[in-house]
């Protein structure tokens, strides 16, 4: 007999697989990116079923809420010619298939380890809060690797900016401090001049 939880699991995994397939098969890059978002959502749902609520929410927050938004930004603005991208598909297929099989073998090896067959957290620690436990372990036992990871990320941010930052010559960049400091006399010029003489309308006769 299927429990409700199993039913939810199967729905989530079916949608996850379908959306994953749609990522690689869809012809429109925006649809592909949105399918990936759907895949992330379903993965988060499966993690929720495992009572890993922190991981699930972090997945939605970081990948769906931030990474994929920026991804969509780029993909939306590009004019991608898919037929050109698909050139040489069959040439690369054997190599790609080999790598795919290799990854699958590795994953099976990882799944067979005993860490992957642990009972769910609710059975070992019934009243534990997942978020609290992760926080405690991350900032006590694993504080050095954690900090190291953050430094690596910082270096990645700085180098990404350094690689792409170019000073444009036609940039219309303004300095806000200068704008605020502007006084009336910097912008307004009073000019002394004679007022215009009265306009005399030419007579109708003279025009013809």
């Amino acid at each position: 007999m299927i429990e409700f939880k199993d039913f939810v699991f199967f729905v989530l995994s079916l949608v996850l697989i379908a959306s994953g397939l749609s990522v690689i098969t869809s012809r429109n890059p925006v649809t592909a990116a949105l399918s990936l978002v759907l895949a992330f959502f379903n993965a988060a749902g499966i993690w929720l079923l495992l009572q890993a609520e922190f991981l699930a929410i972090a997945l939605v927050l970081v990948y769906v809420g931030a990474v994929m938004v920026l991804f969509l930004f780029v993909v939306m603005m590009l004019d991608i010619n898919l037929d050109k991208l698909r050139e040489g598909f069959w040439d690369y297929l054997p190599m790609a298939g080999f790598i795919g099989i290799l990854m699958m073998v590795e994953m099976v090896m990882v799944f067979k380890t005993k860490q992957f067959n642990l009972p769910p957290l609710s059975e070992t620690l019934p009243n534990a809060s997942n978020t609290e436990l992760i926080g405690n372990t991350l900032y006590s036992d694993y504080v050095l690797p954690f900090e190291l990871a953050s430094v690596v990320l910082l270096i990645a941010i700085v180098s990404a900016i350094a690689l792409t930052l170019r000073d444009r010559k036609d940039s219309k960049k303004t300095n806000p401090a200068d704008q605020i400091a502007v006084k009336r006399k910097d912008r307004v010029r009073l000019v002394q001049m004679k007022s215009e003489e009265k306009y005399v309308k030419p007579k109708a006769k003279e025009r013809t």
Binding site: M1, L34, V60, G65, F73, S129, E132, P176
Partner: protein, 343 residues
Amino acid sequence: MDALMTSVFGLWGPSIAKTFWILLKIVAVVLPLMISVAYLTYFERKVIGFMQVRIGPNRVGYFGLLQPIADALKLLFKEIILPTASNKVLFFLAPVLAIAPAFAAWAVIPFDLNLVIADIDASLLYILAMTSIAVYGVIIAGWASNSKYAFLGSLRSAAQIVSYEIAMGFTLVGVLMCANSLNLGKIVMGQAGGFWHWYVWPLFPLFIIYFISAVAETNRAPFDVAEGESEIVAGFHVEYSGMAFAVFFLAEYANMILVSMLAALMFLGGWLSPIPFIPDSFLWLLIKVAFLLFCFIWFRATFPRYRYDQIMRLGWKIFIPITIAWIVFIGGMMQTSWGYLFH
């Protein structure tokens, strides 16, 4: 077939009452929320009317009280126009994606000590996740419309939402440092004992930044460049009409109520009364939320629209450094003998 039937009944039979109860609770939150959204628009028009020495809506019903209902009916009967070159599925998915997170976030909002649909430990994180996916409605609406103005509006709006989300997230870090918890109920209870215990005092800069970011997040004036009428017509929802447009409208106002609710819960003591001997009640929460919503409308009637580069500068170069500095300051102060001031 029998196995399937029993599984379906096993699924519904014993737990049917529980499911029904949860659905009832959801209706009890969403229905008043929809009504408040409708009357928030009325409130806005009245308040701005008075601020500009006008009367505001006054024709439908007494004092124009039926105006929101008349507006809703009008939008219901309007034709929904589908642009020919648009992506049909995504075009109709966008308003749904805009409003779903705005409602889903209410699942963890506590209205009183035990009055909450889902009392989960990571409720603040959940809300952060839900508000962060609201940007998809905007992006997809702009892209699926296949129109230059809608696309430009959606790019502006999405960039703005993503930028201010960071400052907003950092202010929440300050709150959870004070409360030692991610649970909204516990955050409110951490402020018990009079208005001088509210987190608005130790976290005053963060409160200001949270509220300004909230205005920017909901694309409200003076940060409403997403729909700067004079520049890009109406922003990302320019191609939407009738109910599809109304859903975006609903989402904006539902988000306004949500961020005001969060500000009241996290900084202003939620349902706690300001003076200890007056009983705590849900009414206090309503008063605080109503005041914050009034501020939203007040801003709209007061400030001229920001220039786009100044919005980005404010978010990235002013708010984020201030929040980070204040978090470090709180963390440092908590180690000193004045630490009790920050809890």
